[in-house]
Structure formats: structure tokens, C-alpha cells
């Protein structure tokens, strides 16, 4: 017996899979909009925490999807969400990758690529904004967001160092 909740999760991420131009991080605002604002499956703070977990865990950033599924419907929900998020886009990639490589230098392909780049950048900026809004409820949290942003822009430190130092400051009760 497949629960309606699992089907709903599958459906949500099925659609998102084909909308995720720019990768998993670019659809963060849409995931948040659907699971927090439309379906009320979790609070904004829950969402921010899941994102933190997905960033701290080893593996690709699409893992956030499985954590959202897990939060809503347990381990099975996590697996279903991951399959639904990767399935449709993978089939599409499988189908078109060959032809696409052949048209690598075609002017229309270059136009599409040039046209999508600013859209992707705007989506990713939105992700940062939505996550910061969900995560930052104190001035120390804002300070950590700002400091991480600055350090990531001007140094070549590995992101895990930044997350690690942040985790430490949080564990000490500063945030």
C-alpha cells in the first residue's frame, strides 16, 4: 500500500526535477515555497536546519531533497524524494546529451546558454536570501551569514572550515 503522502512527495519533486535549471541549489526557494508555505509540512526553521544538515553531510547538494522527504514521511519519504528529483531530469539528460554535444557550437545553443546564465544566478541569489531569512533570527546569526559570505568571497578557505567554525560557535551557545 503506497501512502498518499509518499505519492504527493513524489509528485512535487517530479515536477521540480524538470524545473531545476541551475541544479538543486537553484530550486531551494521553490522547495521552501512548496513545503513550508503551500503544504505546511514544516516550519521555516525546520527547513533551514535540514539545509544545514545537507551541507554538513558528505555528498552532493541535492541531498537536501532527501532530507525534506525524510522530515515529511520518514526514511522511505527521503528515498522517494531523491528518486523523484533525479529521475525525470536524468532521463532527459540521457536522451539529449548525445545530440547536444553534436550541436556544441551551434549559435542557438550558445544563445540558450547565454540566456540561462543570468536566470540561474538570480535563482541562486534567491536561494541565499530565502535561507538567510529562514535561518537568521539573531544578530549573531546575521553576523555569521555575513562573515561566511565575506570569507568565501575573499579567501580560498574550504567551505567545511567555515561551516565547522560556525558549528563550534553555535554549540558554545553564541547563536
Amino acid at each position: 500500500m503506497i501512502s498518499p503522502l509518499l505519492l504527493e512527495i513524489a509528485l512535487q519533486f517530479f515536477v521540480l526535477s524538470l524545473l531545476s535549471i541551475g541544479g538543486a541549489n537553484a530550486v531551494i526557494p521553490e522547495i521552501q515555497r512548496r513545503v513550508v508555505e503551500t503544504h505546511h509540512w514544516m516550519t521555516d526553521e525546520d527547513f533551514a536546519q535540514l539545509f544545514a544538515l545537507s551541507q554538513a553531510a558528505p555528498g552532493p547538494n541535492v541531498l537536501i531533497v532527501s532530507l525534506v522527504g525524510w522530515k515529511v514521511a520518514g526514511v522511505l519519504g527521503g528515498v522517494v524524494a531523491m528518486l523523484a528529483m533525479s529521475g525525470p531530469s536524468s532521463l532527459l539528460t540521457y536522451a539529449v546529451a548525445h545530440a547536444w554535444e553534436r550541436w556544441r557550437d551551434a549559435p542557438w545553443r550558445i544563445a540558450i546558454q547565454r540566456g540561462l546564465a543570468p536566470v540561474t544566478a538570480g535563482l541562486l541569489l534567491s536561494s541565499g536570501y530565502i535561507l538567510a531569512r529562514a535561518a537568521d533570527h539573531s544578530w549573531t546569526a546575521y553576523a555569521i551569514t555575513g562573515a561566511t559570505l565575506l570569507l568565501a568571497l575573499i579567501t580560498r578557505l574550504h567551505p567545511l572550515w567555515l561551516l565547522g567554525v560556525a558549528a563550534l560557535s553555535g554549540a558554545l551557545g553564541w547563536v
Binding site: 532527501s66 531530469s89 536566470v119
Partner: protein, 153 residues
Amino acid sequence: MPFARRMIVERRGWLSEAEFLDVLSLSQFLPGPNVVNVSIIVGRRFQGAAGAVAACAGLLLMPLVIVLSLATLYAHVSQIEAVRGACRAVSASASGLIVATALKLARPLRTASWKLVICATAFVGIALLRIPLLWMLAGLCPVSIALGWWKRA
């Protein structure tokens, strides 16, 4: 992704650096998780459909097991104040990382004002007005691609 590159290009020599960049740009441009798309393309190139499935499963299986175990563990310790604090701080830090990545992506857009306008429109629509992504993409992508075509000289 840096790990995927090291594995595919440096350790196994499956692709040259240039080939990998090619696969990467295609993966970023198609919908779907980028690194999953890379695995599909590389898997297919060597072993067809079976290769694509194997590469994708190999890529996702262990991280999925680890992250779901972590999540289950986290559910048990999430009442401890130190854990909650650490998690709040990591969320704050992670959002800063995303903004940094976005700004790095946006930096080359400075050369053309239409690109900045498209980027800003996407931000206002998605982040501030909370317009559903489907409508936003349906409205913005055709305009942006048309501009990409028209200004290609």
C-alpha cells in the same frame, strides 16, 4: 563536484580536463542536480544505459544512506541546546555560502546590462514576490534566450 572531477579526470583518467568541462557545462545547463547529470553522461558514454544507472546509483547511494542516518541521529539529539545552537549557526553560515556562490556566478554578468536586469528580475520574482518557479521560468527564459540570441555578436 571538485571530488567528482578529481575522480573522473585525475584518478581514473576517464575524461580529459577539457572533456570534463564540456560535460559539466552541459550538466549545469540541463535541469536536474548537476552532479547527477554528470554521472548520467559519463556512465552512458562508457556503458550505455546500464553505465548511466550504475554511475548514478553509485554516486547517490552512500551519501543517501549517510545523510538519512545523520538525520535519524539528529532527531534524537535535537533537544540538546548545544546541538540546536550548532545547527542554527551552520544554517546561517550555509546561507552565506550560497550567496557567495551566487555572487561569483553573477560577477561576469556585469558586462551586459540586460543580463543584470534578468538576474534582478529573477531575484525579485522568486525571492521577494514568491512567484511560482514554473511561471517565472516560463516568462523569463524565452525573453532571456531571445536577448542572448539578439546580443550574441
